[in-house]
Amino acid sequence: MSISTPGGPERRPTLVSTGKKPAAGRPAPDAKAGSGKPTGSPRAGGKGPRKPVTPVKVSQGRAWGPIALFVAVGVLAAGIIGYGAWASFQGSKPWDKKANAIDGIVNIRKTDKTSLDYESHKSGPLTYKYSPPVGGVHNAAWQNCMGDVYDAPIASEHAVHSLEHGAVWITYRPDLPKDQVDKLAGKVRGVEKMLMSPYEGLDKPISLQAWGYQLKVDNADDKRIDEFIKDLRVNASVEGPTALCNQGVTATGTTPRELQQQPPTQ
């Protein structure tokens, strides 16, 4: 909206001035001729019977200029307004619509919803249908997901709890080149509701998980990684945007930890 408004007045003067220029040029020769009528005279130059023909050409020429300009301005204005409308529409599209539009994403919420159901927290090792898991039953403790970059595999039982809280979990094959690992870590470090760890037995070099969503890619430069994070981080939370990512397990190791008894801080 704000773009099109300044665009309007800016453009309109050019329209007006094109109309003015010939009009301003005319009066001078006309005044000398003594009659304000023959507009075509400056261009036709001659007198006599040719006069009627020349104005026709002039008026035709004058008609097309403004029309073309009008159309151009109109198209431009419509384009600006249209783009603004489209952009704001795209921007306000719900996150799940945007996520579903990512090429190659697997939406388990749609394809296999029941695999995400669970009764209550469970301790000990658990088996998951998807590798890496994207939801379902999990440990009472979540893996810390305050932008944590784990350099060794972590327990899925904790990571799934992090997914429930809205985290995006990036996993990669342990043999992924270091520069690619660093690139991924750069998307995680310092970003709340993000965690990352190597994962044994991946069928693709990199796999991204959110609660009920998965995307597997070959390369850390894949643009879809950023899209996945943008669309699903926090949004995919089952418990709303303020579910906790701190106070979780910060240790690595694929065996879920039993929470340690701590002395009450009374």
Partner: protein, 222 residues
């Protein structure tokens, strides 16, 4: 036929010359009028876009406002109970779920308070609690459904050891049941998309927490 037409056109074509001077300004005015119309149209649209949400947002006596105010109070007690459990409970799982409940509900309080500000309403209402619910007769001693009495809260604060876990689990279980009752009432009466979205998340969270609380109750008994 042909002859008259040619003369006509010739006349028409000669005519424009004298009128040309008058036509350009006319066209100019047309352009100006069009520009003005466009600007007025844009302004109208802008004004409409500004006003519509204002006219359609929930009012002071609405279900949405009542829900936001009362659920804030309801949540606030859950935050207090949870932080006591986070500090003093014995079972690590109880402390873990307690901190999750505390921060989650405190966050939801923030969302609900933001609604009230956006709707231009006070966080405090002039009507008694729960009056927005059609079966609003469920307030006992000023307490909304599921809320712990002052005596129960005092006992929880004074409890030691596993007794903290047990009391917290009992109180929080009842608290969630009452909360879900209130959420259901709001969901039944509002069509505000944002309120529905948050209320449904709240309900799903509290329902899954009920299962976990019940499981921990069994654990705390032994």
């Amino acid at each position: 036929m042909t002859a008259p037409t040619t003369t006509d056109t010739e006349y028409d074509e000669t005519q424009p010359a004298p009128h040309e001077g008058g036509r350009a300004p006319a066209r100019r005015y047309g352009v100006l009028a069009l520009a003005a119309l466009l600007v007025v149209g844009l302004l109208l649209g802008y004004a409409g876009g500004l006003l519509t949400p204002r006219l359609t947002r929930p009012g002071d006596a609405s279900v949405e406002a009542g829900f936001a105010r009362d659920m804030t109070t309801h949540h606030a007690q859950a935050v207090e109970m949870s932080l006591i459990a986070y500090r003093s409970a014995t079972l690590p799982e109880v402390r873990q779920i307690a901190v999750d409940i505390a921060t989650g509900q405190q966050g939801e309080i923030g969302a609900m308070q933001t609604w009230l500000r956006e709707w231009g309403l006070s966080p405090t209402g002039s009507k008694p609690p729960m009056s927005w619910m059609s079966d609003g007769a469920t307030v006992k001693d000023g307490l909304m459904p599921g809320m712990a009495t002052p005596q129960q809260m005092a006992a929880l604060r004074d409890a030691k050891g596993i007794e903290v876990d047990r009391q917290f689990l009992t109180l929080m279980y009842a608290h969630h049941l009452g909360g879900i009752h209130m959420i259901d009432a709001a969901l039944g009466e509002t069509d505000n998309a944002e309120v529905v979205r948050v209320a449904e998340t709240m309900k799903a969270t509290q329902q899954s927490e009920l299962n976990n609380l019940r499981q921990l109750q069994a654990q705390a008994k032994g």
